[in-house]
């Protein structure tokens, strides 16, 4: 089976680029396979623990700068990434650790980057928000990457083949005009651009009813762009919903917006959450953690333990590495 092969080929802790090439026309079978689900749950947990560890390191003063964890949203990149080939372009945003980890399975490179070590993806120069590896990019200015991804999608189409460019943005980023300029071009020129919206209904501290009029669905439709809404947290089921749409984007070279209804369970950055605990509790109850824990609580606990150990060991390792010796030219 395609996906088990894929995930088998991602050794935990590996930091080399993985060949994630996938034949998108292949459909996955609907009955979930335990081993596959176990793998992806393990990935979900490791991303979660990676993020939690960052917050911990911050509170201990061992990290500085900014970090936007994807706590509560881990399932989005875990669902999406195996559906992309490594020639596809991916544009992540400020909340991008999960995107990177799900794409490259490279926990070491990202932690080293955030901790300013020489083995960091970008030698500590990029940091949490500015990552580049192959066709994977992130940057810290909201909305900036959507027209950029549009250009990459044009190139994918010009090359022939079925490549695409995917950009992650949040709900609040629909405030940026650049998003509409890009939607317009992608639609006019029929480009294989995918915008993956992680709609957590909040931007920093602003709830989306206070910064987003109307709906994302309607905004997308108004530009003649296809739209898919994903509300579930079961990763295999998510993939099943997404695959035919991605397939269409690849075959027809048409843009697509996928809106993921998700919950941000952590602070915006560090310790800057203005929401009340009851709200957070409600959000947690609907997240993938509750879902997978309920599905098989033994498995969950076992993997959780593995994951924690893995992340703890990682931190020890990276801490002991030398600081980056990058020099400005």
């Amino acid at each position: 089976m395609l996906y088990s092969r894929l995930e088998m080929s991602l050794p935990a802790g590996s930091d080399g680029p993985q060949n994630l090439k996938v034949d998108a026309s292949l459909k996955i079978s609907s009955n979930s396979e335990p081993s596959r689900e176990e793998d992806l749950l393990h990935t979900l947990l490791r991303i979660r623990d990676f993020e939690s560890a960052l917050l911990e390191l911050f509170s201990l003063g061992e990290l500085s700068g900014t970090t936007h964890t994807c706590l509560g949203q881990e399932h989005v990149p875990v669902a999406l990434m195996p559906l992309l080939s490594d020639d596809d372009f991916v544009f992540s945003n400020h909340r991008g650790h999960g995107h990177y980890l799900a794409r490259f399975d490279d926990y070491h490179g990202l932690l080293a980057e955030i901790m300013g070590r020489d083995s960091g993806i970008c030698r500590g120069v990029g940091g949490s928000q500015h990552i580049r590896r192959g066709n994977y990019f992130s940057t810290g200015v909201q909305g900036e990457s959507v027209p950029v991804a549009c250009g990459c999608a044009w190139q994918k189409k010009a090359e022939g083949g079925n490549g695409l460019a995917l950009a992650f943005i949040g709900d609040g980023t629909w405030g940026q005009g650049a998003v509409y300029e890009a939607l317009n071009m992608a639609s006019l020129w029929s480009l294989p651009l995918v915008i993956a919206v992680e709609n957590n209904e909040i931007s920093q501290t602003t709830s989306s009813d206070r910064n987003l009029a109307g709906t994302i669905r309607d905004r997308v439709a108004a530009f003649g762009v296809d739209y898919l809404c994903i509300k579930i947290v079961d990763v295999l089921d998510m993939r099943e919903q997404i695959i035919p749409f991605l397939e269409q984007t690849r075959q027809e070279r048409t843009p697509l917006v996928i809106e993921f209804k998700v919950s941000r369970l952590g602070p915006h950055s560090k310790g800057d959450d203005t929401r009340n605990p009851a709200t957070l509790e409600r959000l947690e109850a609907n997240g993938w953690e509750s879902y997978y824990r309920a599905k098989d609580s033994d498995r969950f606990s076992r993997l959780e333990l593995h994951s924690k150990e893995f992340i703890d060991a990682l931190i020890e390792q990276v801490k002991n590495e030398p600081l980056s010796e990058w020099q400005a030219k």
């Binding site: 500590g124 810290g140 629909w174 940026q176 931007s203 501290t205 602003t206 980056s324 400005a328």
Partner: protein, 336 residues
Amino acid sequence: MASEMKERVLENLNLALSKLLEKDERVVVIGEDIVDPYGGAFKVTRGLSEKFPERILSTPISELGFTGFANGLALAGRRPIVEFMFGDFSLLAADQIINFAAKSVEMYGRTYAHSILFRCPVGGHRGYGATHSQSLQKHFIGVPGLDLFELSPLHDMNHRLPRILDSGRPSILFEQKTMYGQLRIQSSDLDNYFRVDHFGDHEDIARVRVDRGADVLILCPGGQFDACQKAARQLLFEHGVECEIRVPFSLYPVSDDLLEDAGSFSLVVTVEESTPGGTWGNEVAAKFGSNSDRSIQNKFLSITAVDSPIPSAHHLERQVLPVASKIELKIKDALQ
């Protein structure tokens, strides 16, 4: 204000905003996440939305749009103050700042008041990375109709904020992020050695020196004062070099006063966190070049960051930014 009261730069600015909102109904504050309880990414607007709920507008993530919105308020006679969460994002609004706000003053054949203040938190040392750490002051120098100011621990904002808005000219206030938490310098003694006074129009130039007749004149925007002061102390104690530091509130236009008597120093130094090229220091140097008596053989030194994006890692940031030890070294070298 009693000189003994300890006040942070952030508190001073916050208080000045609060008073301004209270006294002047026309003032409206606009930006992202600026309402309570959050009060803005750097807390400059904390408490304001509780006191003035109608006039603190938390916006969508639309820098160009909300800057245009603020320009509309200004046309309609209000006095908007726009907060960019990071000064870097002012580039998204450059069209509204340069092609609309600044143009509104003279483009229509008469002089119109267009009271609007853009606030730009700038600078590195916070580990935010290249798109959240820049000091873009220089890119806004020389726009007809646009004035530039910079926050400092030496300048009380209580009367200066209203003055900017009273000028009827669009203005940008740059605010070094690392300075928000610093204590203001409110007494005339900085310590046992250095003394503080203010001179020039509106007492806008703060001067810090041991005595008249220093060897070196350091000119810097408020954001670099802390580093310059540390460098000046080292130069004094380690090398016996006396420096006078002048910190103007107005970055552009550069006031003639800033260079008063500059010809009497053996070295004139500008310090800024910008990358090289098109710098504020060049602007000062040009003014110096045209004003001063060139028969005096004094040297001019411009200290800036390295020509590089600002890295994220703390230790790498220090490598490219003009920290105190580098300022000290460069001045020492230039004196030889």
